[in-house]
Structure formats: C-alpha cells, structure tokens
Symmetry: C2
C-alpha cells in the first residue's frame, strides 16, 4: 500500500476543494441551478403520433417545461411490457423527435418485469422494446426503452463557468437529511439549453429532492 | 470569497484522501463490506403478532438475514394507509421487538398517498400511523411508519478500523455506471453486529446496487 500523496495529488485535492468552495459561494454564476426529476415519459416521431392518435394528429401542448420550447403534451399512451404488464397514462413530451424513446425509472421496469439499461438520450441501439397503445392504434417499438442516465443541460456560458465540456461528467451534491452525491452527471452543452439537471424519480426519491434541499454542481 | 485554504484544511484533505485509499486497498480490514437493500417490512411486538395472527401465535422464521439471529418471517400483513390504499404482503422481520415499526421506501409512501419522515430505527415519536391487517384481526398503529435513514451496522473492531464512533456518520461510495455517494450513512456500533450497510429500495435502484458494482465505506 502506498501511504503517501504526490505533490500533484495534493495540488489536485486543493484545486478540487477550491472549485467546490467557488461553486457554492460565488454569486457570479451565469445561471441559477435548477434540478428537476423526470417522471417516466416518452418521445415520439410524428409518424408514431399518427399511428397512435390517428392520421393528421399532432401533439397538444399542455404544460411548458423549463427548457424553452419543450412541453408535456395533453396526450398519453399505455405502455405494454414484454410480460403483458401495463403502465397507463405514460406522458408524451413534445415537440416530436425523429426517434421513439421511452424513459422509465428502474422501479417502473421492475414493476413491468424486465431489465432496462442506463443510456444517454438517443443512444437506444440494442435496448429493449415495448408496445404502445393509443386511442387509434398500436405502435410496436423494436427498441428504445431506457433508463436515462442522470445529466445536465447547459449553455456554453455555463460550461465555461463550471470548466466542463460537452459529454464530460460532473457531480451533483444534494444536501438535506439524506445527503446524496451523484458522481456521474453527463454534461450536454448547447446554445439552446438552459442550465438544468435531470434525474429520474428513483434518484429524486433516494435523495429527497424537492423538500427545499440545497443542490450543488461540482466539476 | 475566500480563495485560499488554511494549512489545516490542506492536511484534512490529504488525510481524507489517504483514508479513502486505505479503505480501498488495504487487505487487513476486519470484515468484508456487505451492502444490502431492505425492501419494505415491519417489526412487531409479541402482542401485535397475537392480535394479527391469533392468541399464542409466534413468528415462523422463513429465511435468515445476514445479521445473526435476524430473519424474514413466513408471516406477512396487509398495510392499509390513511387514504384506504393498500400494500399487500408486507413482510415481518423477526425476532419480535418491543415496538411496532413499518419501514417503507419513499416510492411506497407516494403510492399510499402520504408523507413519511426519514428516521433512525426506533425513533418513531410523532411519525404517521397506519392499520395492519392479519388473518386474525386488525392492529391500529398510532405511529411508527418511517423511511429508515441509510445506516451501517458494525462491530466495535470495524468501528476501530474505520475510525468512527457509534451514532456518527460515514459515506458510502457506490461505483458503476451511475455512481452515487451516500453522504450520510448513520453508524450503529454493537458487539452483536456484523458489518452491513442497509439502504432502501429507492436508494438501491438509484445507485444500481446489486449489478456487481463496487462499494466503498469512507469516513
């Protein structure tokens, strides 16, 4: 066992600590830190919406999400899993995309009786499929059921502030009486993004999010 | 903003890092680290068992738990929440205790429709109650429904090894593709205990426990 630290390691520790202090106390952060939990939902293509809701049907925005232009649609579907177990009222998020993707929490996949992999959104090759049922028809998805990896959307100015790059990883420290740090928050940088961390309902329940707990994003 | 670290802070960082290295690499740890997730369950008094299962009834051990003498009983009860929603087949853990306590995950409490506090086992004053139903009768619990705080049981020799005291807090770092650190693991030291971390099903699902991920206990 090596019981000593190199000078480089000590410097790294000090830098990391200073960076944490900075994250917590500097008021010049370009954006407020918003952490939201995503309940299970799906993204659909325009063709899939027509299959499920009828020819010519388009999504009806019901509630705007924090990210500009994104919304929860009025429309929901029924998900039928591989063992004929069902999740009703699966919310569709709009606008439509060019692929069909269902995002579940691990608890959901247990209740459906199958295993789902942790994936970044859009990376669905080789993932399990499912059947979706709408008022006008069924859609058989060959693949696309995932547990979304925890991630943070940010504008390039946020990325500059935190000193991170697109597709790198950060940590999210959640305070409160439970106290959970998510060590692998995938970073997605785009000029269209507002600073927002997305975790799923399992992760939110595990850390007690939403009860006034403090959150801190750490490089 | 204070952009410097004191010598004491630097020393603390170095000590903490060395301690982490030691935890990961030294083979002289007195006990293997076992991390288990506790599904929802209850602990009952002998009188409660009689109320629910009939006069003179005692629990029948079905499966031994990791902690010596503890077991999952053959008997289960039905939990009826404050809004008449129900959880069936709630497992009883034995042996009997001198209080009645129901431990649920936060997901369970959401499905039942009420809020439950995070508490250490036994600390049930002022917590919500519920109704339990068994084959021989009902038991009205005035209080005792909790979400158990994540905790670690350990023998005094483990406490000495990790340099922690009874009722202090440690961290549990869970590796793998998700990567979650539980920052407040409550320490319970007793000569009767084997080294075992208990997290609940929400926490286990959030960190992907049980898929061969590495766990590390850190002071």
């Amino acid at each position: 066992m090596n019981n000593t630290l190199t000078r480089a390691q000590v410097e790294q520790l000090v830098r990391a600590s200073l960076s944490r202090q900075a994250g917590a106390s500097v008021s010049s952060a370009p954006s407020p830190l918003v952490v939201n939990s995503s309940a299970r939902h799906c993204h659909l293509s325009p063709a899939a919406v027509e299959t499920l809701f009828g020819k010519g049907h388009t999504l009806t925005p019901m509630k705007s999400l924090y990210m500009d232009g994104q919304y929860a649609a009025k429309e929901t579907v029924t998900l039928i899993g591989p063992r004929s177990r069902v999740i009703s009222n699966l919310r569709i998020l709009g606008p439509c995309r060019d692929l069909n993707q269902v995002e579940l929490a691990y608890t959901d996949s247990i209740s459906l009786g199958f295993d789902i992999p942790v994936r970044n959104s859009g990376d669905i090759a080789g993932t399990p499929g499912c059947m979706l049922m709408g008022p006008a028809g069924f859609l058989e998805m060959e693949e696309g059921v995932i547990r979304a990896a925890p991630h943070v959307h940010m504008h390039p100015k946020d990325a500059e502030y935190y000193g991170v790059e697109n597709k790198s990883y950060m940590k999210l420290r959640v305070g409160g009486e439970l106290g959970v740090t998510f060590d692998r928050i995938f970073v997605r940088v785009d000029p269209a993004f507002k600073l927002e961390v997305h975790i799923d309902t399992d992760e939110a329940n595990a850390c007690g999010l939403g009860k006034g707990v403090q959150c801190e994003l750490i490089k």
